[in-house]
């Protein structure tokens, strides 16, 4: 096995879709010799990317997994029980969307990859120089298409992988740019004699003279074959796939699998959120919490103030009873406002602002393969993303509730003075008369609980499969609705349980 990087033994691969299984590969027996630089060619939609994602361990856990038959051995590790964890540092993939973490600088991207591969971050400069990015801009957003590809190569090399997988590295580049990337990849390949490189491409001319062979996906026969370096695609190889690749499968079974997968994903999100509570990246957690508390504070305070002020004003104005009745009215208004209405409103505002933002950010990261990239670097995306999310929301929600209550009190004070000339002392006395320590504990408790649950929902929806930008938008929509529903339910249940 030492001379084969990838061995397929009676290997079969099929997509599971509603009502049928779409057969991609069937009975493949092939050994890809180690240390070679191969192109991976075949008609579009033939399953090249699926094979690559399978090799990189990027199977989407929230969807019905592709059916795999036979055995697949990569670098001596069998895939019989899923992606072998021992391979994590040895396989790197450059995906079509490069998955660059766009909140970090290009250099920080490489440094993170180095750190996660247990190598010195000081090597980043060398890697950037190697791909010609010594003078790159500081922001990912300002990188050109070619620069992004180069940076992705540099980041992939950070872990000095033994198997480097690339998905269309030259797509969208002009011929000279494509050739430059091809040269870069070949150079990187030659640097490490142990390395095997497999590049999915439709642009064989760019790689002309640089290949050790071509892995051809024969769509018609649903098999793989290895060709020599001088391979030219035939019309049969590039022909669109035949339609009859589907075999019947029980629709009920598929539905059941999908249902179970989705239910499992829901539980996994919850379990993960609980498991990730201990913060590893303290700085990240603190920053996220601070952002979640401070940024929406003025907005939430305004909302709380309007609610408290209006409630007080109309309570006093619509009940023109003077004397002891005013303080009685204020006592009731204060309790209802501070214990029920303002916390609820703060929760809604929180969902509209923080939850929507977080879901959009997560969804975009998922959509642009940033989460997949983190996964390939050996990082636990949940550690980097979910822990700060949970903390920021479980802390941010109570903090914002307090902010809203304080604002409501001040607005109530002004409204009471305006409506019936209530002095400040009398107002505060009446407003807080019915509020006990237990009320405060209940309010903070339900805010923290709904914050936690909203974070779970946000993660679940944001980090779910994203095939398009529409999926991201849908996830944001759902995060807001689910967040508000959670806030409403948590408040209703807690309030009912406490005060009924």
């Amino acid at each position: 096995m030492t001379d084969a990087a990838i061995t397929f033994a009676s290997f079969g691969l099929a997509h599971r879709r509603a009502g049928c299984e779409e057969m991609l590969l069937h009975g493949v027996d092939l050994a890809l010799p180690a240390h070679g630089f191969y192109a991976f060619v075949g008609a579009s939609g033939g399953g090249k990317s699926s094979v690559l994602r399978l090799l990189a361990g990027l199977v989407e856990p929230r969807e019905a997994a592709p059916r795999v038959d036979g055995d697949l051995v990569v670098l001596g590790q069998s895939f019989a029980a899923g992606f072998p964890p021992a391979l994590r540092g040895d396989v790197a993939a450059i995906l079509q969307d490069e998955g660059l973490l766009d909140e970090r600088s290009p250099r920080a991207n490489v440094e993170l990859a180095l750190r996660l591969a247990d190598r010195s971050p000081l090597l980043a400069a060398g890697l950037l120089a190697q791909v010609g990015l010594e003078h790159a801009p500081d922001e990912i957003a300002r990188l050109s298409g070619g620069m992004r590809k180069r940076l992705a190569v540099a980041r992939a090399l950070a872990s000095s992988p033994r198997l480097l997988l690339c998905d269309e590295p030259t797509a969208g580049l002009d011929p000279s740019g494509a050739r430059a990337i091809a040269a870069l990849l070949r150079d990187a390949h030659d640097q490490d004699p142990r390395r095997t490189t497999l590049v999915i491409t439709h642009d064989l001319p760019a790689f002309a003279g640089r290949l050790d062979g071509a892995l051809v996906l024969d769509r018609a026969r649903r098999t793989l074959r290895l060709e020599g370096p001088g391979y030219e695609p035939t019309s049969a190889d590039t022909a669109p796939p035949p339609g009859a690749g589907a075999s019947e499968a029980s629709e009920t079974l598929h539905g059941l699998r999908t249902l179970l997968s989705q239910a499992a994903a829901f539980s996994e999100s919850l379990l993960e959120a609980i498991r990730r509570l201990p913060p590893l990246e303290l700085g990240e957690v603190a920053r996220a919490t601070w952002r979640a508390c401070v940024e929406p504070a003025p907005f939430v305070a305004l909302g709380g103030g309007v609610l408290g002020g209006l409630a007080t004003f109309f309570a006093l104005k619509n009940n023109p009873l003077h004397g002891g009745m005013e303080s009685a009215l204020l006592t009731g208004t204060g309790k209802v406002a501070l214990a029920v209405l303002v916390p609820l409103l703060a929760g809604f505002f929180f969902c509209a602002r923080v939850v929507a933002g977080a879901a959009a950010r997560l969804g975009a990261m998922k959509r642009t393969n940033q989460i997949a990239a983190l996964q390939m670097m050996g990082a636990q995306p949940a550690n980097l993303l979910l822990t700060p999310l949970v903390w920021s929301m479980a802390v941010g929600m109570p903090v914002l509730t307090v902010v809203a209550c304080v604002a409501a009190t001040f607005a109530g004070l002004l409204a009471a003075a305006a409506a019936s000339g209530t002095p400040a002392g009398g107002f505060v006395h009446a407003w807080f008369a019915a509020i006990t320590g237990r009320d405060a504990a209940v309010v903070l408790g339900k805010a923290a609980l709904s914050g936690f649950l909203v974070a779970v929902a946000c993660w679940h929806l944001g980090a779910g499969p994203k095939r398009s930008s529409a999926d991201v938008g849908l996830a944001v929509d759902r995060a807001i609705v689910a967040g508000m529903a959670i806030v409403l339910t948590a408040h209703a249940v807690a309030t009912f349980a406490e005060y009924s």
Binding site: G82, R257, A263
Partner: protein, 499 residues
């Protein structure tokens, strides 16, 4: 790997299903709040809505669940739910009525005015003594108007005269109607009921203790109705004009006529107000201030008081037992000025009499009251019991008046120079209101009821206290009481100076 995920999915669905089931049950339980559901029928349920409150003694103890017509349409059926804590107060015989604004005539005035600004509500009252609690689902016939509230009558207190007046016809008397003597209310009507054979009406009366002495067997009772008498020329006199608003029972007795009546006295009322001339105020009343009632000391200077004892014996395996005992005791003032009562220990110490088959009996809520001859009731505490386990105990009165008159020291004999119990002597006891009963000889078996602690007087001096011959038998009420404990067991510090 994926099998595990499917398993996790299955577990999630299972948990969701269980959670849903639990929530559904919780919601159903929420609907079926604990409590006793009752149905009350009214002729009409005007103003009553679901959610209205049910009150008992003004306290919200339940809620109206539904208001519906009876199947035959003749009644309105109100479903009420009484909270568990208050369910025991809704008993057989409880009266349910709907509280709405109501004009009860000149005497009763307006009631239910709170429902002018609030919703109507259901109220119920439970007569005392109460019946057994209503079982859930009971169908009760509600009243159309509030019951004439015997509930609001102040309870008869100790020493009040409780008697029955038989009248040919009830002219509007109700529980709470006053009983009037010389224009002063001396008591009230407790209940009005038709005699079993329908021949007359029985009116239960309470005369307050301080007016007891105004009722003798010569007293004439009548139901007051306004009466006009006189002639055109001499002018008219309206008698009992106050009865225009509210009828009352009047009575008259010539001063000094007749003897006082005991509780349970029955008297027939005159059909009309008897014609009598009120005597002028006696001259003696003008001369001297009314005599202060002196404590009745009996004719021998020995002060015997009534001792009442109450306690609860806590049982592990059976309901707690209430212990109620009453008897007598010897009152005197000891050397340090305390009012001391010497009595039988079996009267005032349940731990002495209760069987202790399972270890020490647990006695709780002990209360000892002493009724002085003047009628005052004082609390007393046990300060001493005979260490030799003879049936003797000493009490000290709490808050005794400074001018308390006890047995004079020369009427007490703590010495050992005993006379034989068979020696000539008498036993002195007191009745329920603290007044002395006629002395009896010690061998008299009629002595038995409530004679614990009665004082044996021999040779003119109080010498001993009547106790139970068998202390365990006190519990059963079958004690043979003709045994005495001599006073020489009382320690010196509880005796008067020099004795």
């Amino acid at each position: 790997m994926h099998r595990l995920r499917y398993l996790l999915g299955l577990l999630t669905l299972l948990a969701a299903a269980l959670g849903g089931l639990w929530l559904q049950r919780a919601l159903r339980n929420l609907d079926e709040q604990p409590g006793v559901a009752l149905q009350v029928e009214f002729r009409e349920a005007r103003g009553l809505r679901p959610g209205a409150i049910v009150r008992h003694r003004g306290v919200a103890v339940g809620v109206v669940r539904a208001v519906a017509l009876s199947p035959d349409g003749d009644k309105a059926v109100v479903q009420v739910l009484i909270e568990p804590a208050a369910a025991a107060h809704a008993c057989v015989g409880s009266a349910f009525w709907i509280v709405t604004p109501r004009f009860g005539g000149l005497a009763d005035g307006l009631s239910g005015l709170d429902t002018l600004v609030r919703d109507a509500y259901v109220a119920f009252a439970t007569p005392s003594p109460r019946g057994s609690p209503l079982p859930p689902g009971s169908l009760i016939t509600g009243r159309e108007r509030p019951p004439t509230d015997s509930e609001s009558l102040e309870p008869a207190s100790h020493g009040d005269l409780l008697m029955t007046l038989l009248v040919p016809e009830n002219h509007g008397l109700r529980p709470g109607s006053p009983v009037v003597h010389r224009g002063v209310a001396t008591g009230d009507v407790r209940s009005v009921a038709l005699a079993a054979d329908g021949s007359h009406v029985e009116v239960a009366l309470r005369i307050a203790r301080e007016h007891r002495a105004t009722v003798t067997d010569k007293a004439v009772f009548w139901i007051a109705r306004p009466q006009l008498s006189g002639a055109l020329l001499s002018g008219f006199t309206v008698q009992d004009a106050a009865s225009l608003l509210s009828p009352f029972v009047g009575y008259h007795v010539e001063p000094g006529a007749g003897v006082l009546v005991p509780d349970g006295h029955r008297a027939a009322a005159a059909a009309n107000r008897p014609d009598f001339e009120l005597a002028p105020v006696p001259a003696s009343a003008v001369k001297s201030a009314p005599a202060v009632a002196k404590p009745a000391t009996g004719n021998d200077g020995v002060v015997v008081v009534r001792v009442v004892y109450a306690a609860v014996e806590k049982d592990t395996f059976s309901p707690d037992d209430d212990i109620r005992r009453a008897g007598s005791g010897l009152l005197y003032v000891d050397r340090s000025g305390r009012a001391v009562v010497i009595t039988a220990r079996s009267l005032v110490d349940a731990s002495y009499t209760e069987p202790d088959g399972y270890g020490e009996p647990e006695i709780a809520d002990e209360q000892i009251k002493v009724v002085l001859p003047g009628g005052a009731v004082l609390r007393a505490g046990r300060v001493w019991v005979d260490p030799d386990a003879s049936d003797l105990a000493a009490l000290v009165l709490d808050g005794a008046p400074p001018d308390l008159v006890g047995t004079a020291a020369d009427r007490l004999a703590f010495a050992d120079d005993l006379v034989s119990p068979q020696a000539p002597g008498i036993v002195r006891r007191v009745g329920p209101d603290g007044t002395p009963l006629a002395p009896v000889a010690i061998g008299n078996t009629a002595l038995q009821p409530e004679a614990l602690g009665a004082v044996f007087i021999g040779d003119g001096k109080a010498r001993a206290v009547v106790v139970a011959a068998d202390r365990a038998a006190v519990t059963d009420g079958a004690a043979s009481l003709v045994n005495v404990v001599w006073l020489h067991r009382v320690p010196a510090e509880l005796r008067p100076q020099g004795l």
